[in-house]
Symmetry: C2
Subunit: 358 residues, 2 copies
């Protein structure tokens, strides 16, 4: 019997950001967050094989073997043990994962990667989990990954329970609800290496005098932005998206020592988007920034070409990628990255073609 | 009888920033603030002459006549009317003001200028006001100017009264208390024109979800930083200074539309100062930033040469100026910028020499 599964998952780009944990081990957030799962323009493919013949768990990321003894990697892959326990198996696993997007694009692939792992590993182990349980597994790998186990607009409910059983993702609207929505990503030059978000958010909670005000503000914002999304009111959605992004970057700046992810190019993009909206007489494009200087500019299909043109004209923007909202993880029947015996099947990402066999 | 006075006043650099008014007309702040008045390295000289022969108030800034009908200028110079009323005169005034620091240095000269005006105009009108009353006059010209009417470390008490009579400056410590203190100013390249702080702070109060948390945090900070200054505990003073600066820039970023004064050079300076302190094993230098990208790095005399060297090595730093803490406004007997009949006496600022007659 085959114990292999391959899944492609995609990143999600939050409009209400996750920044801060109430529980470091279970990865439980201090407040809820909200994102759109992207389409397959950016994806991560992961194959998991379980076999009684394997002596140990092994992992390859983009063709390179990783050390599963490394503390952070071990934490991220802790979900494997839970899956084995639930499936009643003791087999070791071989895992291969490949990013299907331009290298050096500066994207955090952890959300897509951990969502793909949760889906592929549980499927390979013979489990048939629902989206809620998958999201809890993915959350244990990387908090925001829980929102990538389903498509469309997704809320990660903070929950209140100490065991984390009420901290999971739930779809607010399917991808089909707002098919006109686009995310135009501007990848910019970045000199400085970034502070990891895992340690950064810990510092924010510990040191920012403003952080509690952010946590109090989120529930109001969540209500308003979900209403704007439900009614497809782009100007309202866009303003809340931009304000929320800056709110997060503000508490980062208020952290000691300060965390500064935005750079002068990010700032140029902010000004350009504001001017674009002013010229239009209403908000037609809305920037957001994760833990890095790249801009994600949400807009609608009728504006996308102009928004791309505007972003292309900005000094420091070195690449532009446009995504739609996607349907969430896809279980593949072909295109496995590993044979059933665990040997590698060479694949690579080719721009314009996606992940192809080599 | 001569109704002329000439005063040199100097800027102050806040360690607890002023950002937000509870009353726009009387310029009453939402919270207290704290600064050091700089020495004469950076100064503004102002001469005021009152005469029954003058037909109208006239003002020259750096040799250029200004329009006193302009709304913002008229507001700033509203204190003239109060002074005339208090002195029981109806004479019009001629005013000349000259900045005694490198042009294009990007400094806000309004604090020094308005402090010099309050002192010179009240003196010329024959009033002998105490520091508290002078600070209230200066406050009406430009909020933070009230802290420049005295030397050393100065607190601007927010006050609670609607008429502003309890919102004035008070010396916390004279310049002689901490003679080792230095402010090493790094002037950096700045591309974007800045949002005026007057309109910026109004927007912050109106839109920032985090601002109330800043206002609640200030009293605790004020207590702690005054204690650090009293005991000349540089590491404690430095940490609080840096955290407070970022707290202000955080609420600016959280403003809608966002206000971003810091740029990549400011960020480089922040990183360099942090590294400097890490190498030293404790905080020996502390950055602060006003409504602009220039850094003010507080340090002590034994560190000043190294701090200058560190700042000089940073790309984008185009000028470095070192100040000590100063004694506040000086009343000059010579060096008037206007004759008693109001005609100009040509002066100019020469780097290295200060303000000289031409």
């Amino acid at each position: 019997m085959s114990m292999r599964a391959t899944v492609e998952a995609t990143p999600n780009i939050a409009v209400v950001k996750y920044w801060g944990k109430r529980d470091e081990t279970l990865i439980l957030p201090t407040h809820s967050s909200l994102s759109f799962t992207m389409d397959e323009t950016l994806c991560t493919r992961t194959t998991v094989v379980f076999s009684p013949k394997f002596r140990q768990d092994e992992l390859w990321l983009n063709g390179q073997q990783m050390d599963l003894q490394d503390k952070e990697t071990a934490e991220r892959f802790g979900m494997l043990e839970l899956i084995r326990k639930q499936a009643g198996i003791r087999h070791k696993a071989k895992i291969a994962s490949l990013n299907g997007f331009p290298t050096a694009a500066g994207f955090a692939s952890s959300a897509a990667g951990m969502a793909a792992l949760a889906c592929a590993a549980s499927k390979a182990a013979g489990l048939d989990l629902n989206a809620k349980d998958l999201s809890i597994l993915a959350r244990l790998g990387s908090g925001s990954a829980c929102r990538s186990v389903m498509g469309g607009c997704v809320e990660w409910k903070a929950g209140k329970k100490a065991d984390g059983s009420d901290s999971y993702a739930e779809q607010v609207a399917p991808a089909s609800h707002w098919p006109e929505l686009r995310n135009v990503i501007a990848v910019v030059d970045a000199k400085k290496k970034k502070v990891s978000s895992r340690s950064g958010m810990k510092q924010t909670i510990r040191t920012s005098a403003l952080y509690p005000a952010r946590v109090s503000y989120i529930p109001v914002l969540m209500r308003d932005i979900k209403a704007a999304i439900q009614s497809k009111d782009f100007p309202a959605f866009g303003e809340l998206t931009m304000r929320e992004a800056m709110n997060m970057h503000a508490v980062m700046l208020d952290t000691w020592p300060p965390i500064v992810y935005l750079n002068d190019y990010s700032k140029e993009i902010m000004y350009a988007v504001n001017e674009y909206n002013q010229a239009a007489g209403k908000i037609k494009a809305a920037y957001t920034f994760d833990a890095g200087p790249n801009a994600h500019v949400y807009t609608t299909d009728d504006q996308a070409a102009n928004v791309r043109k505007m972003l292309q004209s900005i000094d420091g923007v070195k690449k532009i990628i446009t995504c739609k909202v996607g349907n969430g993880p896809q279980y593949l029947k072909n295109g496995h990255l590993l044979e059933e015996d665990g040997t590698a099947i060479a694949h690579q990402y080719v721009e314009g073609k996606g992940i192809v066999k080599t």
